[in-house]
Structures are given as C-alpha cells and as structure tokens.
Symmetry: D2
Subunit: 343 residues, 4 copies
C-alpha cells in the first residue's frame, strides 16, 4: 500500500547499506572509538563550521533527549519546552524518568515564543518562593517542530540571547534537521545552529539512516565522562561502527543535504496536489510533514488506499492527519497519491 | 593486525547484511510491529520449544540488563549476582542507576554457587532486621560467564529450584549464548533454559548481528506495558525492523547455531595451539573466550603482532589476557596466530 | 509582629508537648513499632470508621506526597493533578524526582473538575499512540486545596467513581484536612473520605503537631513492604514515638477536631473583618486560608504591621495575598488585625 | 524491662524538651530560616572552630546519608564504604535508590584501611576499562563505626590525604559522633574532623535529641541550591525550629559533650561488669556500643530480663549481641544488669 505514514518506514539510503557491506569485515575497536566514527565527527565539524565541536553518536531520538537533558541538568532543574514538544508528550515520560520536570509553555504552531520564555524566567527568579520550585535549567526546542514548522534565524538568536542571559543551555532537537535545513523557506543553517545552541543533534533515523543521531556540543561543553553516562543509560553500542559508518556516509558528498532536499521537493509536490484539490491545511508547514484537515468519511475512504497518520480530532466531523515525505518518497508515490485525491 | 580482542570487532554475518539490503525499501510499520519482528519471534519460540514465550528485541547487553532488572524488581529489591558478573562491574553502574542494588556473592570461575545463593536467601529472611535491608528479588547469572565458563544442566536446575522456592525470578544473561549452546562441553539447550529461567536473552551483538538482543519471557510474565517502559528508557528503535530482520535471519536455517559452532571450533583450535606451545591457562573455558597467563615481556612482544584483551594482573610478572574467537574468526587467523606463538 | 503568614509558625499544641514530656523516659522500640503509634492508629481507624485501615506516620507533606505517588505508581504511570496542585508547583520537582510525570489539568478555584478528568482518561485510552505516552495512573487532589476550597461530597464521589471505573487510585492530600472537616460549609466527613479515597493523609504539621502526617490506606492496599520503601526514601524515624505520641494526642478527646474548629472560627472572624472593611476576596474560601486582593501601596503599608503571604500578582497595581489562621490564632490576634485594617 | 537495646529508646534530653516548651508559641518563619537554627549553626561553627562552615539540619541518619551522597556525587560516581558500613547494609538500598553504587571494601573492626582505599583508587584509574565502571567519587566512613570502633587522628589524616590527592570528598557519618568524641581512647576532636573531612554530620537522634542530624560542610562546599534538593527529597521540615531548638540546646553549655561523656562512663562500667564476670568481647570498642559473645542458652535466659540486640551468629552455639548505653542510661540500670549477670 502507498504510505506517507512517517519518515521512518523504509530502511536506509542505499549508499549507507553499501558502505556497511564494504566495511563489514574490517576489525575495528568497539564503543565508538573506530576510524569511521572519527571521520564522521570530523565531517560534521566541518559542516557545522565549528572545529572544536565535540560529537557523540546515539541510537534514537528519545534516547538522545533523555541523555542530554539528564546529564546537563542539575537535580533541582527542569527543562522548558512547548506543550507539544516531543519530550512533553510522546516519550512515555522518559524525561521525568531521569528525575526532571518538563516545564511546559504554550506552543505556537509547535514553537516556543521567546517573549514568553523570557517572561517565565523573569517571573521564576522574582518569585520569593522559587527555592521550593523547579529551577528552569534548559530550553528545549525542536526544529523542525512536531508540526513541521521552523524557527527563523532571528527567533533562534533571540532564544539564544535569553538563554545566555539566564546562563542556561539552549538545546535543539534536530531529529528531522535535514528537512529543516533544506526547506525552501528558511534562513537557518547548520553553522548558525552551532553558533546559537549549546547542544543539538542531527537526526539520522528519520533522514536516511537505519538508526542514529549525532549529538553536537559546539562549545567544548560535553558533560564530563559523557561516555560513561551513556553506558550507564544503556545507550553505548558495542559496535559503534554502525553509527560511525552511517554518519560518515551521510556527510560525504552532501548526501544528508541532497536526500533531505529531495524529501522537501516531494513535500512541495504533495502540498501542491492537496492545494489544487481544495483540501484545507491545518497549518503552513515548510518541511516534510504536512497536516491536512479531512472530513471523517473522506478520511476513512482514503485510508483504504494510502497510509497516513491520525494527528488529532479537529471538530465533530473532521480530523487532522499527517502526510510525511522522506528521502525515500518517489515521484511515482506522489503521482499515485494524486490519483487517489480525485473527488 | 591480527585480532582476537573481542567477539564484536567485525560487523555482521553476510547473510544478515544481505537480508537488510533485500528488505530495505519495503514500507514497514515502526517500533517493532513489523512482519520481520513477528517472524523472528515465532522462530525463536520454536527454537525454545516454548509456544507462549513473549519476546522483545533490544539493542545491547547493558541496556537489556538494566531494563530487565529495572522493570522486574520492586523498588525494595536488589539482584543477586556473582562478584564478577557484568552487571556488578562493567556496566558503569547501570543497575544502580535504575535504583537497585547488586547483591554480590562470591564467584567460582565466574559462576554463582547454588548453595551459597540458598544460604544467602535463608539468612536474609531469618534476619530480624531484614526490613531495613535490600530484599533479594532476582538471581542474575551469565551463561557463558564473563570467564567463558558454563553452568551445567544440573546447576541451572538447582538454581531454578531455589528461585522458585523463594518466588524470585532467575535471569540468564545470554549475551554470548550461542557460544555456550554450541560448546563441546555442555548439556544445556535452549528449551532447557526456557524451562529453567524466568527471563533470559539470546545475544546477537556478539554472535553475528550488528546489534541486538532477543529477550525471552517464557512464562507469560513479560512486565505489563513493557514496550512503554522500553520507550521510557530510550531503548525503543523507530526502525524496529533493524532488529527483526537480523534475528529472523539468525534463526533461519540454524544460522545462529552454525556460526556459534564455528567460533567454538576456532576456539578449540586456538586452545590446542596454546596448549601445544606450553602456555598456561588461567582457567578451563569451554567457549569462545580463552584466558591465558602470559609472562609480561612475552605479552608485550606478542601485542605487537596480535590484538587481545588485558584481563587482570596475575602476579608481579604475569598477566591474564583474553583471546576471543567469534563467528568471524577464520582458520587463517588461527594459523597466523600459531606462527606468532613460536618461542 | 502579628502574623497570619501560615499555619505552621508556632510549635505544637500544648497537650502534645505535655504528652511528649510525660512519655519521654519510657523505653520504647524504634521505627514506629511502639505502643503510642499503635494506639494512635487504632484511634484513627475509629475516627475513619474503617477498622481495616492501614496507617503509616510520615514527617511532612512533600515527603508524604512523593512516597505515596512513588510507591503506588508503576514506572509507566503519572499522576493527574490540578495545575495549581502542590505536587505540580511547590515541591521542587519531588514527584518527577521519583521518576513520575505530573499530568496537569486545569484548576477551578484550586479543584479538579470530574468531567475534565473523565475526558482526559477517555482521550488517553482512545489514543492509538498511548503506548508512547505517560499512562494516567492516579488522581491527586488536595482537600482543602491550595486555595482553601473544598470538594463537596458529591464531587468526591464522582471523582471516586471515575477512578474506580478506570481502576486507578484516588489520592487525597489532607495536609490541612482538619480545617476542611471543620469548615462550616462542608458535607464531607472523615469516614466519607475513607470510603471514597484509596489513600489519603491527615495532616499534623499544619494542624497542631510539630511535624507529622498520618497516611491512611483504607482498603488493605498499603503497598507491599511499605516500611522498607519509607526507609529507602530516608523517611523512617528511629524514634517513631515522636509521631505516635503526637497523633495519639490529636485523636484523643477530639483534639484534632476542636483545634481545627477553632481555626475555622478565627477564619470566619477574619473574613468578617475584611468584608466589613470592604476588601475584595480573590475567591470564596470556607477554610483557614483567605485570599485577599490588596492594592499594592495598601499592601506595603499593611506589611509593616502584620505578616502575610504574597500569593500572586492580580494586575498592574494589585496583589493577591494570603492570610492563614490556625489552631494557634487567638481572638486577640484578630482584634489587633481589625485595628490595622482601619482605612 | 531493663533495656540496652539501642541508643534511641528514650525520647530527648529534658533540657531539649524544656526549650521546645519555652519557645513553642513564638511565631517563627519556616523551613529552617528561624533564629534558633541560626543560633545553633553559629554554636556548631564555634565548636568546630570553623567560622565558614555551612550547616544544614536534617531529620535522621539514612536521610542524611542519601542526601549527602546523592547531591555530592556525579551520576557516574559511586561511594567507597566498608562492607559493614551502614550505607552498605542497613539502609534498605537508600544509596542505590539515588542511583549510586556503594563500592564495598573490606572492613577491619568496622573501619576502612587507608592503604586498601589507596590501592583501590590506584587500580581503578590504571584500568584501561575504567570508563565502563563506576568511578569512585567519595569515601564514606562512620565514626564511631557500626562496631563502636574509632579512627585515630593519624588514620583520619591519612584517609584525608588520599581523598585530597584523588580529589574526592571524605564523608564522615557521625550518627553517634558524641560518643566517639568523648571516648577515653581517642585523639580525634571536632575541629580536627572539620579539618580532615569535606562533609560530616553531628548526630542528634542517638545523642539526646528527638530527631535531627547537623550536616557540616566545612569548606564552603555545600552543594548549590542544597535547600531545594533537600525539599525535593522530602526532607525539608516546615517547622525547622524543631531541629534548630534541639541543636541550639545541645550546643549550649556543652550539653552534647556532657551527655555523651555520661554514656561513655556508663559503657565503661558495663564493660567492667562483663569483664569481671568473664564474658568474652567480640572486639574492643571504646564507645557506647559493646559487642559480647554469648553462649546461646545463656543468651536466651538473659533475654528474659534485659533487652539487647542480636548482632550475628558467632558459631554453632554462640551469638554476638550488642549492649548500647546512651545519654539516658542510669547507674541504676548498670547495677541491675550486674545482678542479672551472676552466673
């Protein structure tokens, strides 16, 4: 069946598999100390234009979020996030499992508003009772957000300024970062992110890899003995090469950008289709996730031919659904979808 | 360089890579709900001769140990393990990170002694003060152990009886299970383990997979909402197919057994070599890990030509080192080693 | 200075101190196994009209909340609470420190709305993605709430019905329970609470004791090995008599009710004063905490003569403040306050 | 019945109760910010001859141990302790509950051997695999130990030197510190402890208080936002005065020393009794806990007249038991015991 259900329904980009096959029988040291991890790190440093960046490869998004938050916060601190942030709602309480509260602020198309963040911080520190409360110790944003939206360069810089003035790190969850960077409607670049953020990750799982996220600490601020804490969290792969080879491939010949770009082109084609057929968009997303409002009977009919995700009820008779493109979406997929939309 | 450093220095068995390539572009649902995971589970149930076994795929050994122990123990319980157990010494405190104490008992060539386990449990429950102590809530054994040794069928059954009489689960860490099952010197089978143990895992990472451990709950005793707790621990892969395809391949046409058998044959050849040259063994291991006592200058010389692991100091001038074979060790590797041992 | 700052500014009721002095040199066993603890438990069982209630004495409110929530929830569960619930905002993240999320719902004068709780539970279980979310595993209410308000019998019963139908416990935080039970405006009794709730506590710290909260499990549902978990949380007093003697005294000759009643009378006098002088109430509280809206310059003037608590900004030029009476408030205190309110 | 069961069977020294009564109705701010807490801290600073010491009052020993260890260790660190250390065996896993491993070393009459500590640290840092292990991050000692024994000044200094050279804190559990300081056989003083240790506490619960331990950070090294972390652990008393008044009284007119001295005199009398009657001592304790080896039938007979603690089985027919004196033991108690020992 035709599927736009998510950006992780296929395996890996063929180049990645090819490199895994080619390097398979080399005897390499374990736990991320192999030459492919080193090479991948160096290429990412260059892509970030940040020579001193420290980089660590982890397996998936929730794991990465909980390890970053769990190791960078003091016990008395929590993390500010939008109410719709992945860490707030879709990680089964992984953040709280590390002992930290997610301090929810309102979301605006999935984004935090810098002014509201600032107000929250100001109010906290002015409260005479704040020693009995959870200290805001980090700001978490996702980019693209869970709604496919993007921060502008100006918005990121404003958040970074606020974080700097309150001396708390800004953490950017880039599980779908490629699709954000290659959007037609962004002025944000990887070096800019490395400049603004205190920690961020470049998502692999949803952008062409079998698994893997590349965590970047751009300011020589990787927590002390990070590897040991990763091990303690059960997240250190014995065969670290699995992540090294994948990221080394993704950052060779701009593969990461090229496949992300392709997903964006497919998303633009998909948007055009829906727009032409008169469908309503729930919001305007410039990346690979598109949110459409379907009348319920229409939705049920469509579901028989194409897979997509339920997002939320819109009203009594309508539903918001998500169509996701990815590096693996083909022009033929879009064409087939187009034919199904004829009503 | 020739390497016997560990059993995770190469990638995966070629059949596994081949299947990953073949299935790569299929659109599959995420989080372990795909057909390859289902097929792998069914094959493992058959291999265990346990139709009702519940199976869950995780990524690596430490992760598996901490999730099993963390989800099966009550907060007031700890886990009994040999002083040399992996959970005691080489997991960076992962078990304590879940809030549970490792209750160390003496080791005998890496194994627990059933009588000592029984005595410990008896003493605990007779102690009038036991409410102020950590309740022994599980027995952890590794098979093969960290020293390559194996429990006999009788020993396993005795441990199982003791656990049953104290109503605590027996957990077998099978990170290297294949090498144990295919040893020339064992009467333990997979169905027997499924009968004795309350939970165990079949290691993939060290037996031919890129990553992956198959956790088996043979008694319909998988903790409630286990998937959610795995997610909460950051251990749920979006592309669960990565584990499903690998285990499906390992349990097709006895691949898991065949490659394990090969490693055992290589280990036997290696043992013969060392024995013929008059080397001393630290202990008698019937599996793929061999522990040799080297005179220090001899060790330094050998290190220049072949990689192996430091284990521990034996005395002032001698060191215990480990040579590990694996599914990937070749006859040529053994031959080359033989030539290096001529002194 | 005259103080209405809180209900824990004095020590203990004189009868309590007297009993501590009288029993001081008796040799008693430790850890809550003494005869005063037993006697206090029996008297509380009678007051609750619940013969089979299991009772445990803890030291303070936050400690009690985190131990109850931490020991009664499964790892994948969180606790539903009003956004203004003490566990949400004023316990320094104690609940998250135990690994559990506080699932915030809107507050209505400090209370949860049963319909909203039901809707939340319904929506959660209908969500196809709920395995990736925090399971609602308990409903927490405070009675009186942080705003001094009270649930009615009907409201409590409705919440209890909902909890029962979703098989999750209803937990009532009674840090100020005496003041709720003795309100002029309530139809809720202690036996009724024991019937509706799965766990609750009778606050001592704020109602006449030096410290101490009596946790009641009315349904033979005290978590297994609760004492050991209390010890593990550092909350088991060696001299458990300190809590036993206090609660034994509070539940002798209705002392707990009588001193609570007194506080309510003082609160009613205080309300009358403010009402007569034309002050605005932030909301209508029938218990010992009264929330007044003061014009800021008026507030600053009043602060010089009497202590009260800042609650929150009302608008640019007004502030909500709290005046609390207690068992220790005297008629003279009220009179003195009356004189200060003359403007 | 005559009781030597422990040093916490009576309430508090009469002076403490008297002060609680005298100060009872004063309106004081909460959470340890009252003047009695301040005064007590100042007196303790003087007693420690350490003007810059930061002091915090907690309720009991296990609570204090877990908060100190939990807040001073990094996540990747554990605490070195003797196998018989209270944190290892009698706190229901409270330390592991905070996520940290207790790294057990051999005990010598309850004490750590400095050379063994040094060797452990040296071995750890030389191990090429130490990133996969728990980092030793603190040394815990009890003084007096669980066997009533004491470190000498030279031993403490040696431990302090080792800790300093490895840059880890030395933590002294002084739950029974008074009895150690007043022993006839010690050269250790409070100022000396403040000089050697990085954190320690002065026990109140077992030395005349109803409850309470005074934690001392002598080197301006109290963890940041310690009060918030204490609150988060449920250990912040609303009526902090309860602890303040007690320690203020204990450190007025040398009360703490005087009552400790009395307990030591009683212990010396008790030792003399046992020695004269030809009883065997399990070890030589210079403090208030005495360990006697009783023949089992003799033990059962004695138990009918006097309460004491079972410690451990000595052999088939003998048992080690503990007799504890305290500030509350009277000469009459000793005399009565003497009469019971006539056989």
């Amino acid at each position: 069946m035709l599927s736009f259900e998510s950006d992780y329904i296929q395996g890996a980009h063929e180049k990645i598999l090819q490199r895994l096959v080619e390097t398979n029988m080399e005897a390499l040291p374990g736990y991320g100390s192999d030459k492919y991890c080193e090479s991948a790190k160096e290429k990412i440093r260059q892509a970030c234009d940040c020579e001193e960046a420290e980089i660590f490869f982890l397996t998936g998004g929730t794991q990465t979020n909980e390890i970053i938050i769990g190791t960078m916060l003091a016990p008395y601190e929590g993390v500010i996030a939008a109410k719709t942030g992945h860490v707030s709602v879709h990680e089964a309480g992984a953040i709280e499992h590390t002992g930290h509260k997610v301090l929810e602020l309102p979301q605006h198309d999935g984004k935090l508003d810098a002014k509201e963040v600032q107000q929250y911080l100001k109010t906290f520190w002015e409260d005479g009772n704040h020693e009995h409360m959870v200290f805001p110790g980090m700001v978490y944003i996702s980019h693209p957000t869970e709604y496919g939206t993007l921060y502008t360069k100006a918005e990121l810089e404003e958040l970074a300024d606020i974080c700097r003035s309150y001396q708390i790190p800004l953490f950017l969850d880039g599980a779908r970062l490629g699709y954000g960077l290659m959007s037609n409607d962004t002025d944000v670049t990887l070096p800019m992110i490395a400049g603004c953020c205190d920690v961020f990750y470049i998502g692999g799982t949803k952008v062409g890899a079998l698994c893997g996220e590349a965590v970047v600490f751009p300011k020589r601020n990787m927590p002390k003995h990070f590897l040991t804490m990763v091990k303690q969290n059960g997240a250190l792969l014995a065969k670290g090469r699995l992540l090294g080879v994948q990221f080394d491939t993704l950052f060779t010949d701009d593969l990461y950008y090229r496949i992300s770009k392709h997903a964006i082109e497919m998303a633009e084609d998909l948007k055009r289709l829906f727009r032409e057929k008169g469908y309503r968009f729930y919001l305007d997303s410039p990346t690979n996730q598109q949110f459409i409002i379907l009348e319920d009977s229409q939705m049920q009919k469509l579901q028989q031919e194409v897979a997509f995700s339920f997002w939320e009820k819109y009203d009594e008779s309508h539903t918001v659904v998500r169509f996701a493109t990815s590096w693996a979406t083909t022009e033929e997929d879009i064409e087939r979808l187009g034919k199904l939309l004829i009503f």
